[in-house]
């Protein structure tokens, strides 16, 4: 189909970002060294040094201590470890069988599903925090809950910034509330890292999830940054690496590459955010001009820099009368890579739980697209989207009128790409 030959506009950085040169170089350099970082001999120590230097680098960049860094395979593993590990530890600490996990209704599935799994298989109770129409968690809801239930709450987990609509959550306030009630607080910062200022010493969360590939590191790298004095039960048992929290041979090259990507993300954050925000406002303006009845979901885009309530790289839009899936397919054909932003498993798309939680009706939720900018994005990408959009919208609306309940997905058995 047309579009394969010309330059593609990749506007789906929230799904995955291109590998950064410093990360690639760090990986390649570290991959030259032989040795298991847990081995006691010289080669082992050499590999271990790479891991420990990466750990220190990440700790310095994020305002935490090296002993807090637990290397993992990425966001999903870190979230599972935090949610399940803190739940099991909390059950023992609180001395009750069925403590509560407090979370929000807009979490990524890597948090939602572990919480639901704990409810189903471990007797956990779940309390889902309300969000407002911009997808911002209501801290008064949390305060009210904790004031009466702190002694039976194992953990609170609320994402730093939402992956679909880009809404930034009041994590510092949430962390403060949790500290007051001595409840561990975990936050998934996968989408926030690199786009928002991130000084963990200021926020004071118990545990923070980061992922390598969303910031230009390799897929399969990530970390759970967890207060070393907080007990967390391991999910994977084995050789006892990473303070016995995360067994498995340490990935020295992956750690080095992750550290390089984190360093770049933190160092460049301010400039990067301004660049993203300029693309964001240009795209929003273009969408409003070309498709006047389009609905921009989430916090006001121009809040990105001034108030910090929206990721500067995110634009999420509902186009009434069109299906997100048809829009995606037509944009794909026009050379634009974007996402419907909704969870799609085994080829069966569902309306986004985030949009439904925001009070968006199901039909509108199904008519949504997410554009996300990143390191390699330019105004040409914005222009490509804005140019393609009117024709695509018109066509998708025509298709929408013949098959109101039919949905395209990007792939059977492909899992979710958000």
């Amino acid at each position: 189909m047309a579009g394969s030959a010309k330059r593609r506009a990749f506007v789906d950085h929230a799904a995955t970002a291109p590998l950064l040169a410093p990360a690639r170089e760090a990986w390649l350099a570290a991959s030259e060294s032989v040795g298991n970082p847990s081995s006691l001999h010289t080669s082992g120590r050499r590999a271990r040094r790479i891991v420990e230097e990466a750990r220190e680098s990440i700790a310095d960049d994020l305002g935490t201590r090296p002993s807090a860094i637990v290397f993992t395979s990425g966001g999903t593993e870190s979230d599972n470890l935090a949610v399940k590990g803190l739940f099991w530890a909390g059950r023992r600490r609180l001395g009750i069988d069925a403590p509560t996990v407090v979370s929000s209704s807009i979490e990524h599935h890597a948090v939602l599903d572990p919480v639901e799994w704990l409810v189903k298989h471990e007797g956990a109770a779940a309390y889902w925090l309300d969000v407002d129409s911009r997808a911002r968690v209501r801290t008064d809801d949390l305060a009210g809950f904790l004031s009466e239930n702190a002694e039976r709450t194992a953990l609170v987990t609320v994402m730093w910034a939402n992956n679909e609509v880009g809404t930034v959550q009041p994590v510092a306030q949430i962390a403060q509330l949790c500290r007051e009630y001595s409840v561990p607080f975990h936050t998934d910062a996968v989408q926030a890292l690199g786009q928002l200022p991130m000084d963990l010493s200021e926020v004071g969360a118990t545990a923070v999830t980061i992922s390598g590939h969303k910031i230009g590191g390799p897929v399969g790298t990530g970390a759970l940054i967890i207060d070393p004095y907080t007990t967390v039960e391991p999910v994977a048992h084995g050789g006892g690496q990473e303070r016995e929290i995360r067994s498995g041979t340490l990935d020295a090259a992956g750690a080095a590459a992750l550290a390089a990507a984190v360093h770049y993300a933190v160092e460049q954050q301010g400039e990067h955010a301004r660049h993203l925000a300029s693309l964001q406002s240009a795209l929003v303006e273009g969408i409003r001009r070309e498709v006047p009845d389009a609905i921009i979901n989430g916090a006001e885009p121009d809040d990105s820099i001034t108030h910090g309530e929206r990721l500067p790289g995110n634009v999420h839009v509902s186009i009434p009368g069109a299906e997100g899936d048809a829009l995606l397919m037509l944009l794909d054909a026009a050379g634009v890579d974007c996402s419907t932003g909704s969870a799609c498993t085994a080829g069966i798309p569902e309306p986004s739980h985030v949009l439904l939680a925001m009070g968006v009706d199901e039909r509108t939720a199904r008519s949504s697209l997410r554009f996300s900018f990143g390191r390699t994005s330019t105004m040409d990408d914005v222009q490509a989207v804005v140019e393609a959009l009117p024709g695509v919208v018109e066509r998708a609306r025509r298709a929408g009128s013949v098959s109101a309940s039919v949905h395209t997905s990007v792939g059977a058995a492909a899992g979710r790409a958000d």
């Binding site: 189909m1 047309a2 899936d325 048809a326 397919m329 037509l330 794909d332 054909a333 085994a346 080829g347 069966i348 798309p349 066509r395 998708a396 025509r398 298709a399 009128s401 013949v402 098959s403 309940s405 039919v406 949905h407 395209t408 997905s409 990007v410 792939g411 059977a412 058995a413």
Partner: protein
């Protein structure tokens, strides 16, 4: 042309898509998600398993065409599975493949494709579309053993004008060879025969699970003797011989078949094969691929099952109903089945059998 190639994950649709690419069309591969069940596991049967979806994706990769999954599971559940259950419950024997072609593949999918500015939908069906004086005509495939014009005779000329069947002029063995030569991973996949949403092939269990048990007696149609029990009249089909689990063998030692079903008393009647010979039928839900028949009798060939050679017949329309006289009797014909009328290799149209007349039973029609 801009063509949607429906990729089931089987060998036929793979080769059909490849030929469309070779022909220079702008091709987009689409796999239909029809069932939401995960029960089929890793087995590659039917058209909706995880293996098939993966194979379809890989074929698109190899052909270098975009690939999407279109989810028609809601429509499929209602128009195909729902209809399947309702028909059985009403004492008829439906053909879900025809229904799927009528309601999903060449209706919902085609409509969506056209709305998205595609010109046609290509599938791996064995049939031919030929230009005729009155517009496109549906003809039997060159490979008569694989001919699928029967299950396609539910699409009208408007739809047919946007259908491409690139395998219609090829025999199956050649298609497999071609798939192998092209290096398509689907080359050696077995053909699917079962109803795709009943992957274990146990239709009676599927029906009982969903409709519930409605047990009754199995009775000898001649003697009235009670010979066994059944779980529901919908679990048996006229002409069925196996699986009746009759207590006593027939007095004459000959096999016994389901010859009649009385839903009002939940009774199944069995008898000898000659009781099953149908010589006339009425059909409704008539779809013509072209002008169609009038009130005048016309010599045709009538085919009543997917794998049935067809028999000489004459047919005419009486109001909205199709009336068919079979010049050779057809054994074991149930209401709900579709009859497709042919003029030589050309499929004229189809109807759903609403009544059958047996030998010495002229009053039925």
């Amino acid at each position: 042309m801009r063509v949607i190639a429906a990729l089931s994950g089987g060998v036929d649709s793979s080769v059909a898509a490849a030929r469309m690419v070779d022909a220079g069309h702008e091709v987009v591969g689409v796999h239909l998600a029809l069932a939401r069940s995960k029960s089929t596991g890793g087995r590659s049967r039917g058209c909706c398993t995880i293996d098939d979806a993966r194979d379809a994706r890989r074929v698109a990769d190899m052909l270098g065409i975009p690939f999407y999954v279109w989810d028609f599971s809601a429509e499929f559940a209602e128009d195909v599975i729902g209809d399947f259950l309702a028909e059985y419950e009403a004492g008829r024997t439906p053909n879900p493949c025809l229904r799927c072609n009528e309601k999903i593949k060449f209706k919902a999918v085609l409509d969506r494709a056209l709305a998205l500015d595609f010109d046609a939908v290509a599938t791996g069906h064995y049939a031919r579309v030929l230009d005729g004086p009155d517009g496109p005509e549906l003809h039997r495939a060159v490979d008569e053993a694989k001919d699928q014009s029967y299950v396609l005779a539910v699409i009208d000329q408007h739809q047919l004008a946007h259908c491409l069947f690139p395998l219609g002029d090829t025999v199956k063995d050649e298609v497999r060879n071609e798939a192998r030569e092209r290096g398509l991973r689907t080359a050696s996949k077995p053909d699917s025969h079962d109803i795709c949403f009943i992957p274990d092939g146990k239709t009676a269990d599927f029906l009982v699970d969903r409709i519930g048990q409605r047990p009754g007696r199995i009775v000898d149609s001649a003697s009235g003797a009670e010979l066994g029990e059944h779980r529901g009249t919908f679990t048996v089909t006229i002409g069925q011989r196996r699986g009746l689990d009759l207590r006593t063998p027939g007095e004459d030692g000959r096999p016994r078949y389901v010859v009649d079903v009385d839903q009002s008393t939940d009774t199944v009647y069995v008898g000898s094969a000659d009781q099953l010979d149908v010589v006339a039928l009425d059909a409704d839900h008539v779809i013509w691929i072209g002008p169609g028949l009038s009130g005048d009798w016309r010599e045709v060939t009538a085919q009543v099952r997917a794998h049935h050679p067809g028999v000489p017949a004459r047919a005419r329309m009486v109001d909205a109903a199709l009336q068919v006289e079979l010049l050779e009797p057809v054994r074991g014909l149930a209401t709900g089945q579709s009859v497709v009328l042919y003029d030589g290799p050309r499929a004229l149209g189809s109807g759903r059998i609403s009544a059958t007349g047996r030998v010495g039973d002229a009053a039925a029609v």
